[in-house]
Structures are given as structure tokens and as C-alpha cells.
Symmetry: D3
Subunit: 249 residues, 6 copies
């Protein structure tokens, strides 16, 4: 693994002679229910991205810690970029790296709320690179990979938690954070009743609909050992995806 | 059915006393292969939206004819907004209508490339409405509905066309345009070989990857009668979805 | 006539070998008094643009249905882009078409409120195209043509209606919509007293100043037959203008 | 006259107790042919605005020296804001003054190229002020007044110069600058042949079409005494317009 | 001295054959306490810039009269651009001049509040010029020079006023305006007690913290003769700085 | 210490009952010469921020890893936001936290290039919060604190390194990274000749001026033990600054 922030520019120059690929972890800073860490999505994305970097010898960019979480902002501690801001952040990021010679941008994402904006940003970025007449503009490819949607991860999560997995502040993501930060495992009496809704509109509506922040989940089921298993599966699947992405035209 | 553009403001005022819902067709203006109409996505979305409006007594906004189709812009005749522009268009549109009292925005969409940007736009719009302290800001809900993803439509399309349905310039969407505009049915010798790829990056890459514009599809299979069947199914499914959306909290 | 949305990209490619011109109808979605259709400006622009397209063999782009109508937004059903949004829409639209080879952009406009923003947008677009070093950037010309300002149209409108023509929700524009959509002719008891003011500031001020939405007009004078005459004159004049524009350096 | 820049904030506070009006000169910094000053439009607008301020006891804001002159930027020394930038400048300017209590914004403009963008900016600003729920938002009115379009000015210019007035680098505007800055009168052998065209597209096209920068004008006819007469007429007409604007609802 | 606004484009073309440098005065339009002129910062910057232009034969651009003064906007008469607007203004200004061939941009600044935004704008502008592939993009250099920070000026100000110089509405800047506009010297009984604070946050906080607008200053000490001395020193120092800047690589 | 990303929203809610302060580390991702880590600025800011958080019981936000480093982007691996993007990021970040009740924003910064844009962003953010009529808008204060400018740090750095400290890729910042990441100490033969220049313009100019990325520095002097000392001093000084900031009005 090469962490970009622990490299020198000369090492990056050398890296580029053997690979045009880079892994970019993107998370979010948002409430994850009474026991989930606010950094859950960034923690998971970062840890898994580093695992994938290690297994594939790929360089890993600094984590984008704040994403698109406007719907969580009625809970204190949540921070969100607006989609139009996040588009600019992605655009600025990719273009700097593309100007240096990177062409394969493999985003490892920890937050469902980022996906739409990331895809919009990719489209806007391809157009920008073409406008700039960047030499390798046509070769640039961006791909978003949600670790929690990996086949093996999804399967294990549902084996372990069934429909108590829910869709936000899930035991699977909480488990990964417990594995990564065992010193930060939180406990709190969770109501057994939790909304089975899945609709997301504005922030005030979200808090009314999901009063403690969970969406249909029971994170009390999470254990650090589950986290380790989920982490291992995600790293394995995404490593394979990354290599395929790198090899693809 | 009430078409907004064929109504007076007084009629809209009256409408709002009985319903806060509005249907907004959104399409795209982009190449659809050698035989598909450039307006395919707008044509389908508009026709189906009007059908849904008729069956549910809902008001239908003017069609947003141009969407997010940057990847098609290496083919002449394609027009695209950048995602950041489309976000502003959606924001301006929804806020005007929300200020008038509408709260349920049911977008009927004809183009996969619009989905990510629409979702990003909805998030940005909810936040804007909250910032403006609009009286009904918390009640505003936007939903995107892709007519081609309705269960019954999807099933029939695959019954009729199997894997020749493909993912762009599909026989199912071409069929709907043939039903709506029988006078504009185009013919052209389609190569039996068509890329089975499904990846979408920048515009130049897209044209290289999909030289005649089709993605895995055989639109020669389309008939106006298929179009009628698909249209009927879409209208039925989406009418039901709309009423459910209107009734939901 | 060739409607862009009913064409294939190959047909557009062929068209471009014989002409670099395109007609773009732009309207507005805004109140037009108690009897005028909310879509009046888009309906007139679209119908006349198609007439011009037919008589000149020019291609006609999809109608831009929503324009700059912020001052009408205190009346329900009105939708407006902000000027800065509309500038981006025009810029995105023209640049896509200019990249494909179009250089003569003939906008047929149905709404006075669009004119200033369109002109600003044209200036911004020329600069953008130069920045992009588009091969034909220097040849690109945009022109806005208000159908209601054609000499013959203006003259007939004043013959028919004198000073009851007014300046918004005019009998002449209502007449054209009656000709195009005879099934959507509205009636409502119009007060004989109507403001003779012509000043336009913000939306709340506008509604206070023009309580039923009309500006000095008596649309009750409109007839479908007037509409047909006005339409014919507009098409004739603008067809001639278009050909002159196309031929000009 | 009160010049804002020569006032203290306490004087402005006092002024606001007796008048909500302010005069804002706006010019441009752009080529005006071989003998016209680059600052012509700002010079004329500023001088006339101060004259109007003197005769009406109105406060005069600092001159906006750079406007929308993109089409002149192929000539060295021209500076232009893009329309979207100028909209923001106007918006920021008006909102600061409106928050302080000003409601009547009387722009005295020296450059035709500013008009469209100013009108777009006014519309966008009214909407912004409403969004901000500014107490006096509904009372805010902006008006653009082109000094060269005053009836008496226009008449004298055509009496003096006939069709040699032209439409850019006109003898009338040059005359006013000669009256204001007699020390900066320039001479240069002007070709008697000058384009009678009046079309304006992009900057490169403009320079090709109007090689020395003039549009149909013969500024050699200008004299400082003409300038004085034109100045006097403009001040008289605009003073009367300002008082009417102030008094109007 | 050459004032850009009193030059013709041909004179600028000639100037560029001998120098790529330009001086740009930038001020602000903001309260300067009970006796300071609202235009203080623009007046000082403009006068000194013209002095520097005269002594160095450099061309001087029109003054940017309005800068970044958001924190002063709770006092009537203050006008501010938002930083993001000012960045665009600087960008548009520099790029027009850079396209004409200027490469050395020497800003003479009269307002501390402009500095951060100017520096941000310079960075953004260099990147823009590179994106545009402007021939001389790599040679473009922008520099901000605060006249009040010149060594000799700073020293004299503290000799004359000691700690009554303060940091806003200072006697030194007031003195320069008295020298430039002796007809506009204001008097008002200034409280001997004045906040010695120096912190600047939002506009409402600023007015609460500095009720009459002064920050630790006693402008009653200013005299026109001080102003003349300070002006002379500033012109001398900045002329030398300008020539050094011009000569530097 | 409380790390925001290792907290739950309920813990943040509790924290806010006792303190309105938050520490935000901001760094940069940019070349730091042949031996300096690309993440140097983020690493230092993050480590020191956590130290300050620990000693003051303050909450620490996730690190903003990418800042304003456009001038470094000609070296591979550097990533920069444009100033206008960074302004939006800061604005979005502060407003989310301010809406939750935070009012004291203490940025610990590791990169000189961020300072101007941060200050511009703070001004823009105060204005935004006022526009939003946030209850505590007037209480919001943002402060940027450059760890390397702390008196004690600056003094020790110059004691240890004299004028070999330089101004970029300094031994002091490299030493802190060596203390934090001893496993990532890099060696490379550094030329004893290094530019003593300090000017910063565009990216291409920067690389030409500073070919290996260093500005006057000799990072070979750095040791992990120096890093520990510098870290300790920075934490001590900034802890004291933070408490003062928190207590101040």
C-alpha cells in the first residue's frame, strides 16, 4: 500500500510510471443513531480503502471526510456539503490528479447519500477535462464502489442481522467501526421499535421520521468480530474490482 | 387531466385547494442510435405523464425537454445541461411551485442519465426551502419515477426483446415513440453486432465505445403496438404510484 | 420542417452538411391573466417556430418551456428560472449544438421578460466558445426574435385591438393560443378596469399593481381567427428574417 | 449634490430620513475607436450623474467603472465583466444599500452593452431581497437610464451629426468626454469609410467587423461645446426623470 | 502617467510594446467613523496609484471602488462585494488585460479587508489563465501593495499619532483624504473613548463592538499637511516597489 | 479530547450544553520537496489539533485534508481546491455546525496557502448566517491559527535551523511529521543549493522557480525529537489561545 499523504511527490512520479490508478475513500460526517459514530462512513471507507491499497499495491488518497448528508443535519454533529459544493470538490480533486497523469479513479464510498452526487460529479468532470483539452482526458474513468453493496458483504450482513440490518446506522457498518476503533464502542438503550420507513426528504422531516437517527436497524447486534469479517470480505471483493477496473479499457 | 400550460392561474389556485400534487415529465434531447428519435426520452416521459395525469386528475407541468446527457454529446443533435445547471433548473422550478403551495413533486423520467442529478437536486432543494423558511418546507417531497423501471414495463420489455432490449436506444422506448409519433418511424440497416458493454464515461469515450449510439439494443424489434402496451402498463403503474405518493405522509 | 426531437442523430449529421442554422423556440410558464393560458408564451413560440421551420426547411429545437418570469411568481402556476440559471441553460444548449457544428442560432421568443437575459447569455456564450477554442467559435451568432414585435404582427394587433392590446396577457397572444389550442379557450368575466401601468419590479409588487395579472389588456377581444392571421404574419416575417440571418456574414 | 464617497455614514443616515433614492453611475472600460477614450462610458455616466445629483439633491454612488463589454475585448485596454459577474456585482451593491434603507435605485448608464445584464440583474435582485425577507423588499425599484437615449440628447445628436452619429464611439459621447476632460482630446486620422453594420456577436468577430473600433460613427465631428450642450440636456432630462421615479409608487 | 480611462486603445497597444505592467487601484466604499469619508480607501488608493503612475510612466486602470467590506455593512452607505463576487471581478479584470498582453499586475490597495480576497483571487486567476492556455499565462504576476503598510508611511503615521493611529478610520488615511479633497473635511465631536479591540467578525457584531465605526483611532489628529507627507512617502515607496516588480522575473 | 468522528450525535448534544467551541484542523495535500510528505500540512494540523483538544476538553472535527494549493499542482500528487470551492466547503461546514449550536470555530491550520481563502470564507460565512437569520448568527466567530506561527514554535524553529528553516518543506514541519509518523521518514540527497526566493504565482512558474519543491529550506535537519518539541510547544500555545478565544466575547 502507498498512502498518498505519506508519500513524496517523487514517489508519486515513480508510481505513475507503473500505474495510472488511485483509490479515493469518501465517507460522511453524520449521525448514526444513538450508538453509531458520527464518522462511521468515513472510518469504514478509509479502513477498507487502505486494505484494498495494501492488497493491490495501489495508492490511496486522503479520505474525503465530509460528504452529502443534508438530510442528517437536524442532528447535532452532522456536517454536509451541498451537492453543488461536493461536485466542485470532486471536480477539483480529479482534475489535479488527472493533470498529473492519473486516469483511473476508484472511489470507495461509505455513504449511500453520496452516490447520486458522485455520479453527477463524474459526468461534470469528464466534460471539464475535455474542455481543458487534457492530453489523457478521454482515458479518465471514475467509478464509485459502495463497500456495503459488495455481494459477499451484503450476504453476510443479512445472514448475521436479517431485517435488523436496516438501512442507516446498520449493525454491519457499526461492526466495522468497532473492529477499527474498539476503544470507541458506544452503548445506549436502543428502543426495540424503530421505523421501517426508508424514505428520505429534508432534514427536519428526517428527524421527525427517524427520531433517534436509525432507519430500521438494530446496531446493538454489532460486534468487533463481525466487523473484522465484513472488513475482510469488503477488502477482498473491492481489491478484485479495483484490479478489474484497472485492467479494463 | 390538467395540463399546467393549458390552465389559467385561477384554475391552478382552485386545483391547489384540492391537491398539492404535480407531475413533472423530464426527458432528454440526445441521440438514440440510427433509428431512435433524439427526443425519445422527452416524448416517452411527456406522453406517459399526460396519461397518468388523465387517470389521476393530477396537473402536469411542461416537459423538461433537456436533461443530463453529457455522455451523448459527441453525437450531433444531442443537447445536455451540465449537472450543476440541471440542479439549478430543478431548484428554481420546485421552489416556484412550492411557494405557490405545491408539496408533492412527482417526476416522471425518461432518461437514466438524469437520475443521479435529480436526486442531488432534490437534496439541494429541500435545504434551500428550509433556508427560505417557506411555510410548507417540511412537507415538500420530490420523487423520481423512471417509467421504464416499472415492474410491469420491465417484464414486458424483456418478454418481447430478451437481451436485445439493451440499455440505450432500447426497443421498448423506441416502441413508445412509434406509438406516440407513428409518422416519425425511422428505418436504417442496424448492424447485428452491437456492444454489450454498459459503461459510461466521457462523451468521446462513449462514441468510441458505442459507435452508432446503441448500447446492446436492437430497436428494429420495436412496433407501435408494443409501444401502446408499454405505454398502458407504465400509465397504470405510475398512476398507482402517484396516488400512493400523494396519500403518503 | 425538421423537428430535432423527431430526428435521428444521423439525420442531424446530414442536415449540417447543408445548413448550420437552427431555430430555438423559447417561451415561459407564467400567469396570463384570468383567461390566458399559463403556457401562452411557449405555445406561441413553439407553433410559430414550427411554422418557420416548415417554410424554411430549418431544424427546430425542443421548446424551452420555462424562461425568466420572476415577476409573475406571486401567481400560482408560474415557474421561472432566475436569470443566472437561464444564462447557464442557454450556454449549455448553444455550446452542445455549436460543438456539433451549428453556428446560426435563431431564437424565436414569446416572452418579453426573456429578452434581457437572452442577450446577456449570448454575450457570455460567445466568450465561453472562444475560451474553449471551438473551431467555429468566431462564426457563432445568436439572435433573439420576438414574434409579437414583427412589423406586420404589431400592426395587425393594433388594428384589431387598439390600446386594448396592452402589454401582458394581450389579446394577440391569447388569439394565437386559441388558434393553436381551440379546445382550451377560457372565459371569465374580466373587469373593464385594468391598470395602464407598465412598470415591472418584484413579484409581490407586480401582483399588487396588476391584481388579475393583466397589464392594460383586454384578452376578451381575441378570436381563433385573429390568432390564425397573427400566426401567418409572424411565420412569414420570421421566415424571411431567418433566411436573411442564415445568409448574413 | 452629495457624493456617497465624500460623505460619512452619519450623513447617509441623515439623508435616508429625507430620501430613499440613490443615483448609481455605471459605465464601461472599453475601446472607443482611435480617438475615443477607453473610459468614455464611465466618464459620461459619472459626470451626468453628478449633475443630476446636484440638481436634485440626490446622493450619488461611486461609479461602476467596468461593465459588460465582452465584445470589445479583442482591443487592448478593454476590460469586461462577464454578465454573470456583473449580475452579482449589482446584486451585492443593491442589497447592501437596500439593507440600509434605500429603495429607489436610479442607474445612469453610459453603455448600451450594460442594459440587458442590468435588467437581468434587477430581476434577480428583487427575488433575492424577497428571499432575505428584507423589510422594504417590496418597495425596492431599480431603473436603468441611458443618458444618450434622453429625447433631447438624441435629437441634438442627430441634428449635429446626422447618420455620422453611428452607434459606437459616437461623436456625441466623445463630445461629452471632451467637455469633461478637455486635456484629453485625441486626434487621429479617421478613415472616412466606416462600417454601417450594427451587429454584435463575439469579440473576434467584432474586431473583424469594425477594424478600428467605430460602429458607423465619425467622432471627428465632436467638440467640447457640443459636449457641454449634450451634458446640459442629459442632466435636465434625467433630473426630471429621477424626481418622477422618486415620487412614483 | 497614463490613465487607462483617458487613453485610446491604440495608445494602449503602443504602451504594451514598451511595458507589460499596469497599476490597479482598489479601495472600498465603507464607513470610516463619524468624520471619515465613505470613499476613504478608494480615494487614497486612487490618488496614490496616480502618483505612482506619474513617477513611473505606468498605466493606471480605473479604480475598483467597491471591495470586500461585509463587516462594515451595518453602517448605512457601506457597500460590499461578497468575497466570491470580488474573486470573479478580479478574475474577469485580469484575464481581459492578460489577453491583451499585460503580465505584471500591481494592485495598490487602500483597505485591509480586501487583502485576503485579493490573494485568493490571484491564485484562482493564475489557474484560470493556465486553463485557457493563454500564451503568456506563466508570466502573469499579481501583487497587492497596501499603501498604509509602506515602511516610511507606517513609521510617519506612528510618529504623528502613536497608538491613536488605531486600525480603522485612522488619522493617516483621513489625512490623505483631507489632502486630496480639502473641500470635504468633516468635523464631529469624537468620543475620547474608543474600543482598543481589533477583532472583526460579522457586520452586526462589528457595529456593536465599534459603535461609531472607529477601531482604536483618533482621526481628529489628521491634517491635510500630514496627508501630503503620507501621500508623498507612499508614492515614493510604491514607485520603487513597482519598478522592482516590473524588473523582477 | 473528543473527536467528532468518534462521537455520537447524543454526545455532541451533551457537549453543546457545556461548550459552543469546536476545533477544526485544516491541512493541504501538496508536495513538500523530495523528502517531505504530501500530507505534511494535514498531518501536523491534525496531530496538533488533537493535542489541543485533549488538553482543553474540546471537540475536534474531522480534518479538512485538501486545501488551497494551486501553486503546487505542477508536482504530481498535489491536490488543490480552487479558492472559490474552498470558500463553499468552509461555508457549508460552519453553517451545519452553527445550526447545531456551535459558535466558536477554532481552525488549526497547517498551510500558509490556506490563510487568505479561509479569511475570505469567514467573511462570506458571517454574511450567510445573517441572511439565514440563524438565532446565534451574531455570536459566531471563526479564527484561523497557524501552528507554525505560534511564538514559541517560531522561536525554536529558528534556533534549531536558522535560515535553513526556509518557507516551504521546512525542517520544522517535516520534524513534526517524523514525530507523528516515524515509519514514514524519507531520505533523498538534497541539493545544498536551494532558491531563497519567496514569491508565489502560478503552478508552472512555481515549479520552474523551485525545481525540487523546497522554498529555501533544508529539511535534512529535521529529527523526530525536534518534532516532539515543536508539537509540544504548538499544543501548549494553541491550547491557551483556544481557551482565550472561548472565553472572549
Amino acid at each position: 500500500m502507498t498512502l498518498l499523504h505519506l508519500s513524496t511527490w517523487m514517489e508519486v512520479e515513480t508510481y505513475l510510471t507503473r500505474s495510472p490508478g488511485i483509490i479515493l475513500p469518501i465517507g460522511s460526517t453524520e449521525q448514526h443513531g444513538p450508538t453509531g459514530l458520527i464518522g462511521t462512513d468515513a472510518i469504514c471507507a478509509e479502513a477498507i480503502a487502505r486494505g484494498v491499497g495494501e492488497s493491490t499495491q495501489a495508492i490511496v488518497a486522503p479520505t474525503i471526510n465530509v460528504g452529502m448528508a443534508l438530510h442528517h443535519t437536524a442532528f447535532p454533529g452532522s456536517i454536509s456539503l451541498r451537492p453543488s459544493t461536493l461536485i466542485l470538490v470532486i471536480q477539483d480533486t480529479v482534475r489535479c490528479l488527472a493533470q498529473a497523469g492519473f486516469t483511473k479513479f476508484f472511489f470507495i464510498n461509505g455513504h449511500g447519500g453520496n452516490v447520486a452526487t458522485l455520479k453527477a460529479a463524474f459526468a461534470e468532470t469528464y466534460a471539464l477535462l475535455a474542455d481543458l483539452r487534457l492530453p489523457h482526458a478521454e482515458q479518465v474513468r471514475c467509478q464509485v464502489n459502495n463497500w456495503y453493496m459488495c455481494g459477499s458483504v451484503y450476504k453476510l450482513a443479512h445472514q448475521l442481522y436479517g431485517n435488523e440490518e436496516g438501512s442507516h446506522a446498520t449493525p454491519s457498518e457499526v461492526a466495522v467501526t468497532q473492529y477499527v476503533y474498539p476503544q470507541a464502542i458506544k452503548t445506549y438503550p436502543l428502543s426495540p421499535e424503530v421505523s421501517r420507513d426508508h424514505r428520505i426528504y429534508g432534514a427536519a422531516d428526517f428527524r421527525r421520521r427517524y427520531p433517534d437517527g436509525r432507519m430500521g436497524s438494530n446496531p446493538a447486534l454489532a460486534t468487533p468480530d463481525h466487523g473484522r469479517q465484513l472488513y475482510d470480505l469488503a477488502v477482498k471483493d473491492l481489491s478484485s474490482n479495483y484490479l478489474e477496473f484497472l485492467a479494463a479499457e
